[in-house]
Symmetry: C2
């Protein structure tokens, strides 16, 4: 299986800038996670509405935390952060929706699967500027997690082109990339190169 890519927005771009970047980045990635914790709900709503209007397929968009924005836009999935709404209650109320979630250990990964998560996002995998001073989660856990859960497993945190091979070797389903795309001088070029590496690894 080819490694899937999720572009995770970093909250550092203004809305017009972000819209412009995402419209060019999305063709190179499988999913876009809108993680804009400091933007008001109305702004996130307008941004995502614009993305869909401009051709980003709704199934690609995972809005972080804001299930209400997700519902109002008629989208079918959301990413629920660690201190977000309870996954089990969400699944009960919205059985037709999918919810992804971050995990930091085998225990959390098993719980996430049991709670009906659509995917687990394990991290952070490598040292990264957005988690400065925090040691990465041990990659050694990933082999065990991979054996124990069958839902899609993504790595996040410090993902670079060189590190995609490592994730592939660990049989992960995908990589979620924040600063590797959104802090890059040329976000579109960065996304394109990540995609090319995924394709190259698949062909080996």
């Amino acid at each position: 299986m080819i490694i899937k890519l999720m572009a995770v927005t970093d909250g550092a771009h203004d809305t017009a800038d972000l819209l412009r970047i995402l419209l060019k980045v999305h063709p190179y990635v499988d999913y876009v996670q809108i993680r804009e914790k400091n933007k008001p709900a109305g702004v996130i709503y307008q941004l995502c509405r614009e993305l869909v209007k401009e051709g980003v397929p709704g199934r690609k968009l995972w809005i972080n935390d804001r299930v209400d924005v997700t519902l109002l836009l008629g989208l079918q999935q959301a990413h629920i952060p660690g201190r977000g709404l309870p996954l089990i209650e969400l699944q009960k109320q919205y059985p037709d929706l999918q919810f992804g979630t971050p995990v930091h250990s085998l225990e959390e990964a098993v719980q996430a699967e049991a709670a009906g998560a659509a995917y687990s996002l394990y991290g952070h995998c490598f040292p990264t500027a957005s988690k400065k001073g925090k040691a990465p989660q041990p990659l050694s856990n990933l082999a065990e997690i991979r054996r124990r859960i069958s839902i899609p497993l993504f790595g996040i945190g410090g993902i670079t082109i060189d590190r995609l091979a490592k994730l592939k070797a660990l049989e992960l389903d995908g990589a979620a990339v924040m600063s590797g795309i959104f802090s890059a001088k040329e976000p579109v070029e960065a996304a394109k190169k990540l995609k090319e590496e995924c394709l190259r690894l698949e062909a080996i």
Copy 2:
């Protein structure tokens, strides 16, 4: 009509403290607006679930901004802040729910009513610590707003016991009080005294 009271939480208390205060304050107020912009959705959910479990009537609770928390708890109303989700879209998707909204001018008040708002919250009315350095909205607008809209009209901002008579004279339906309750040394006592003044004004 007796002036209604809405207690608006100030985001300055930790969850356990807030729960304790609200359980004692709520009998003295008609509504509680949970305005905890820096608490994660999961925390707001747990807080409100606990409030309802401990006997606060659901119809009293207006959660600020988080329509998803509102829906997951099966509540019937939410307060939508200025940069929150679009009122018209919310009303379209959730015709059985009620949404209150802040206004700062006659124009906004008329728009809010046209958009189907359950109430308008005009402010800030008086100088207040939470809007330091910002001049209050002119109270003179309120007479015109009162004439032009028929949905409930609340005043917010710097509401004290002494100022309730002014709001009553302007024929407002209610007063929303944040620091007057939550920054008070004795929030429960403060709420009780506000309620007593509402009752006194009604009896004049």
